[in-house]
């Protein structure tokens, strides 16, 4: 699991092969999370299941970004974006490039979020963008 990310001060930098996946119900309550997500966010899967996905939301993230996310996926479209998340202790953070899919699971709206590593310049652009929001 240590090869999923490297640590640089308070930042955890995802490796190229890191692939964070989680599934939530239509209200954003986590129904499952994969091992990469758990190890980077410092949670056990049973700690995450049943919690709202914003449990990993970093305070630096602007509300507008999530409004955009929800506005997009609620219309059935896929949302992509750069997100700063915090670990369970709140002392560390990590950046991801998230792709959030609205899907149907047994007749109900669910969301699957897939996160990959963002490049340094992508993070910089995101930071710059979020400062304006």
């Amino acid at each position: 699991m240590s090869n999923i990310f490297t640590t640089n001060g308070a930042e955890r930098i995802l490796s190229d092969k890191a692939f964070l996946v989680s599934e939530t119900d239509e209200k954003g309550i986590i129904v499952f999370a994969n091992d990469d997500f758990c190890s980077i966010a410092d949670y056990r899967v049973e700690e995450l299941i049943g919690k709202p996905h914003n449990i990993v939301r970093h305070p630096d993230m602007p509300r507008a970004a999530f409004k955009d996310l929800w506005d997009t996926v609620k219309t059935g479209k896929t949302w992509t974006g750069f997100v700063k998340n915090k670990t369970s202790s709140g002392n560390q953070y990590y950046w991801v490039y998230a792709t959030v899919y609205p899907i149907m699971r047994e007749g109900r709206r669910h969301y699957i979020s897939c996160r990959r590593k963002p490049t340094a310049d992508e993070i910089e652009s995101a930071i710059a963008l979020y400062k304006t929001l």
Partner: protein, 417 residues
């Protein structure tokens, strides 16, 4: 190079790098979607790149969703969740993996469903079901075989247990019946023994009274014997007194004979005197009167002697009678003595018999007491065993009830027998 301006060349290079980075998954966003070339002819390339990139991004997003679902499903499998997952790819390599995984997860979940259903039937005590192995091989086949074998083993165990339970139930029922009978018999025996003991007590008192009476009888017999002996002695004395009376009577007779003889001679002499007197005449007249007087006296003596003789004869006859009575009395007392002796012996026999009876009764009493103790002990043991047999019965009923709730092949055959 081909007359391209260096700024346009740099932009093109940057575009191509971003494109490949995105294609290789090392970059997420294309930075030059809005960039334009100085040479407007080259904007066609930019447009083409934008078009193709948007198609590729869409395909990559779909593949990523497929990957995401695949990874979620696999991680769930790692945690033990085997749900059928239908994942669609975008006609890429990922779609091949996705459809293969979908088929795999469907088959696996169906198999697990089947096994879980059977196992939950087993845990609900229904062991009749078996899993069809179909054309499976390897570990899954071993798992199914194992579950089926487990059910067969459990069925075998349950059959044996049910059979044992039924046998035990029968045996316990017989045992209980026997113990109830034994218990009743013991109680009855105890009651009988109590009656026997009471009867023995009564008998003891009777025998003691008998012995007492025999003693009284012996004492009375001895007193009677004494009285009879006294009687015999008195009879003997009576007899000898009678003999003496007879002897005295004989003496009286002898004396009377002498008196008669003297009277006769006196009479003769008086006659002679009268004759002499008559001869003597007047002178003899006084003498004749005296002679007459003598003669009268002699006659009176003879009469008195006759009377005495008659009385003596009467006395002799009475004493003879008395003697024979005394003799009869003596014989009678002898008979009485004999009878008393016999009676005494009989009483002695009765007394001895009573003593022996007392000993016998004592032994019987001891035996009855022992019997009573044994019977009480028996009754106690019978009650205990009865209780135990009741417990066995309950246990066997419980075993039967327990197994009765379970369904397994061959159960109805066992129950029918």
């Amino acid at each position: 190079m081909f007359g391209i301006k260096s700024t346009d060349l740099h932009l093109l290079e940057a575009m191509i790098n971003d494109l490949f980075d995105i294609a290789e998954g090392r970059r997420n966003r294309y930075r030059y979607a809005k960039s334009t070339f100085n040479d407007s002819k080259m904007d066609k390339i930019a447009l083409l790149i934008n078009q193709r990139l948007s198609a590729m991004t869409e395909a990559k997003q779909k593949d990523m969703l497929a990957m995401g679902e695949l990874i979620l499903a696999l991680d769930q499998m790692k945690s033990g969740v085997f749900k059928p997952t239908s994942i669609e790819g975008y006609g890429s390599e990922v779609s091949v993996i996705a459809s293969s995984f979908s088929a795999f997860s469907l088959l696996l979940s169906q198999r697990f469903d089947e096994i879980v259903k059977i196992l939950s039937a087993y845990s609900a005590n229904d062991f009749t079901g078996r899993i069809d192995r179909g054309n499976l091989h390897g570990e899954m086949a071993s798992l199914i075989d194992g579950v089926n074998k487990l059910a067969t083993e459990i069925t075998h165990m349950l059959s044996t247990s049910l059979q044992n339970g039924l046998n035990l139930q029968n045996e316990a029922s017989s045992l209980r019946l026997a113990m109830d009978q034994l218990s009743n018999a013991s109680n009855e025996q105890a009651a009988n023994l109590e009656e026997t003991a009471a009867a023995m007590e009564e008998m003891t008192s009777n025998v003691q009274q008998n012995a007492q009476k025999a003693n009284d009888m012996a004492r009375m017999a001895s007193q009677t014997d004494e009285s009879a002996k006294q009687g015999a002695r008195l009879a003997n004395r009576t007899s000898s007194a009678m003999t003496e009376i007879q002897e005295a009577t004989q003496s009286i007779n002898n004396a009377v004979a002498i008196i008669e003889n003297i009277a006769f001679q006196t009479n003769i002499l008086s006659l002679n005197a009268a004759v002499e007197a008559a001869t003597a005449g007047e002178a003899g007249k006084g003498f004749a009167v005296v002679a007459q007087e003598v003669r009268n006296l002699a006659n009176r003596s003879a009469d008195a002697a006759k009377e005495i003789k008659a009385l003596a004869e009467q006395a002799a006859s009475k004493s003879n009678e008395g003697m024979s009575i005394a003799n009869e009395l003596t014989r009678g007392f002898e008979v009485i003595a004999e009878k008393i002796e016999q009676t005494t012996m009989l009483v002695q026999d009765v007394s001895n018999a009573s003593r022996e009876q007392m000993q016998g009764i004592g032994q019987i009493n001891t035996a009855v007491t022992q019997l009573d103790q044994m019977t009480q002990e028996n009754a106690k043991i019978a009650a205990n065993v009865s209780e135990t047999s009741r417990e066995i019965q309950e246990l066997s009923d419980e075993i039967y009830r327990e197994i009765e709730t379970k369904q397994f092949v061959g159960k109805s055959e066992i129950l029918r027998h």
